[in-house]
Chain length 361, copies 2
């Protein structure tokens, strides 16, 4: 099988690495000639909206998938006219608009923070009684960008313009216990397999650490998260791996975001689960049965942000599994991750990661 | 780091796949333009004794290693004058001559079957009283080629010529309980880590199935095997992964062969151990600390010989981890392997492998 991937970053790189043992080769399309998936697959260098590039990707692939959700709608449509596309473009459409996403959750009976569409400063002025809240652009926000926390009415003034005057959504600021996420896969036949719910720690809007499974995970909470993922995947006739980011509030889970792709909070599955999220995504989009998502070992995943510690230092830490992406270090850029199995040595890794990130140019 | 590999087959392919997450890139030298490691690294197409090809490999590498032991001595020397070479060329020299290998074992006090050098038909006639025995060419034998089992004196007639009249070795045919092997790694600092002893099943001289660990493995037997590997590696100042193939006779282990490289009987370690033999070989030759060889799950590895079953059939088997090499099927050719964790489902895989192999053209 030949899988095309729109985007040639670390997610495409790890998909390609998971594909090789299955005899699945990847062609990735990326605007950057040094895209980090290049060395492990075929790289087509072209903008994501370049008709010729898209057509070459389609011609080189039996099925095309995505490593990011903000794919231009016209590109997804063009691909879908020429080649199988999984997950379905509808999933991209929903996930790239926070209002569609939240509306889908609401329609499916999936609990969320209260939200309302904001189309103008006047809409925002009307909502002054609903603070504290987070104002977000509906589209193209990620890693904490395109967001404003509004705690007092005075802060709403000019906030609509501060976010560029584009369509926005105002979401209630919920005092949550922790951030968690569920990663699940659905096969072309409709079988679903879910990984354990994990606990995520962000800073500056960027994921830093994931504990898998989430500590003190009750079966009821796992069931609830699996139900959310299943409802979304069945509604979208989804094929592939999907992540749902959630806030835990007591025994409740409020859905925050969808990621219609493999997800940073699932990287631990390379070592910690019988089958990784990357292999299961490849299996799903290629029409193969899913592999078991059974937990093999509790893990902590530490992202390497902005800089890479000395490889010898990382390799010397017991049970540390190093994943470097081959990307040039830049402040705030994800350049690798380390998964520590067994729960003992991750703090040492986190310290190394911090100092390397702080030393970034 | 940049690692050069002489040979671009499945071992180089799996080394390259293990290297990418560590930020280690591989350049492989192989005479075949379709060498199966090509898609996961840089491929230099040249004969193994081509000076220009060797020099290009050396120039592209911080360290050069090998996926097979029958490297021409002049090639190893040429590389070693230009770039670091690990394991040391001496290990290749020993391993590519069965007499040197057995002599080394004897010098180190490692038990073997009785053996004697055969340089002529007259030598063989002298040894007629030592049958049953196996006559082997000293060099370039593998997968059961270049061997004759001699049970009666009459069979020795013309046997020297039948094996090409090259230098040979006659080894006592020992009635053994089972074939086992140990894979171990030694770092540049001299640290050693060993995988559990495994049980191997051959047919027609080709490895078919490995059970890891070997069933009913007593700690004393593991200790003995680890001692053998350690003695060999320390004597050779070895850096990298090494395998010793052994016959078990009661509580004794008779050393049969060295493989100064990653080994087919260690493929299970990709899933079954904390760190795979491929990653540990890369760590060792790059001067990094070794990773833990701790067992994660008992495994059975089934080789795919001559043909590949339908991927969907393999993927449907619980706990089956598929590794295809991207090689064209040919009778007797290793084209992939499947590692089954947990010991339950391997027979189903073995049946699929048998029927695909039998269907080979």
């Amino acid at each position: 099988m030949r899988v095309g991937v729109l985007g040639g970053g670390q997610l495409a790189r790890m998909l390609a690495l998971a594909g090789h043992p299955l005899g699945i080769s990847c062609t990735v399309l990326d605007p950057a000639a040094d895209a980090c998936a290049g060395p492990v697959g075929e790289l087509l260098v072209a903008p994501y909206d370049d008709p010729d590039g898209l057509d070459r990707l389609a011609a080189a692939s039996d099925v095309v998938t995505f490593e990011f959700e903000s794919v231009p709608a016209a590109s997804a449509e063009r691909l879908a006219r020429r080649v199988a596309v999984q997950p379905p473009p509808l999933a991209l459409e929903v996930a790239q608009d926070r209002l569609s996403e939240k509306t889908l959750f609401a329609e499916l009976g999936i609990e969320t923070a209260r939200f309302r569409a904001i189309g103008s400063q006047a809409d925002l002025d009307d909502a002054a009684g609903e603070l504290p809240a987070v104002l977000k652009t509906r589209r193209l926000g990620y890693d904490g960008k395109g967001q404003l926390v509004l705690r007092e009415a005075a802060e709403t003034r000019d906030a609509f313009a501060a976010l560029g005057g584009v369509p926005q959504i105002l979401e209630e600021l919920v005092p949550f216990d922790r951030e968690v996420s569920i990663v699940a896969a659905r096969s072309a036949k409709g079988d679903i397999a879910s990984y354990p719910l994990v606990e995520n720690h962000h800073r500056d809007g960027i994921l830093r650490i994931t504990h898998a499974p989430a500590p003190r995970l009750e079966p009821e909470l796992q069931d609830l998260a699996e139900r959310y993922a299943r409802l979304v995947m069945e509604r979208l006739d989804y094929v592939g791996v999907l992540a749902v980011e959630l806030f835990q509030v007591g025994e409740r889970l409020l859905a925050n975001e969808l990621a219609p792709r493999v997800h940073n909070s699932g990287h631990w599955s390379i070592e910690g689960a019988e089958t990784s999220q990357f292999e299961n995504h490849m299996r799903a989009v290629c029409g193969l049965p899913l592999g078991s998502t059974e937990l093999w070992a509790p893990c902590t995943m530490v992202n390497l942000i902005g800089g890479v510690p000395a490889l010898a230092d990382l390799a010397a830490i017991e049970d540390a599994h190093v994943h470097l992406y081959g990307k040039a270090p830049r402040p705030g850029r994800k350049v690798g991750h380390v998964t520590v199995t067994g729960g003992r040595s991750w703090k040492g890794v986190a310290e190394l990661a911090e100092s390397a990130g702080a030393a970034a140019p």
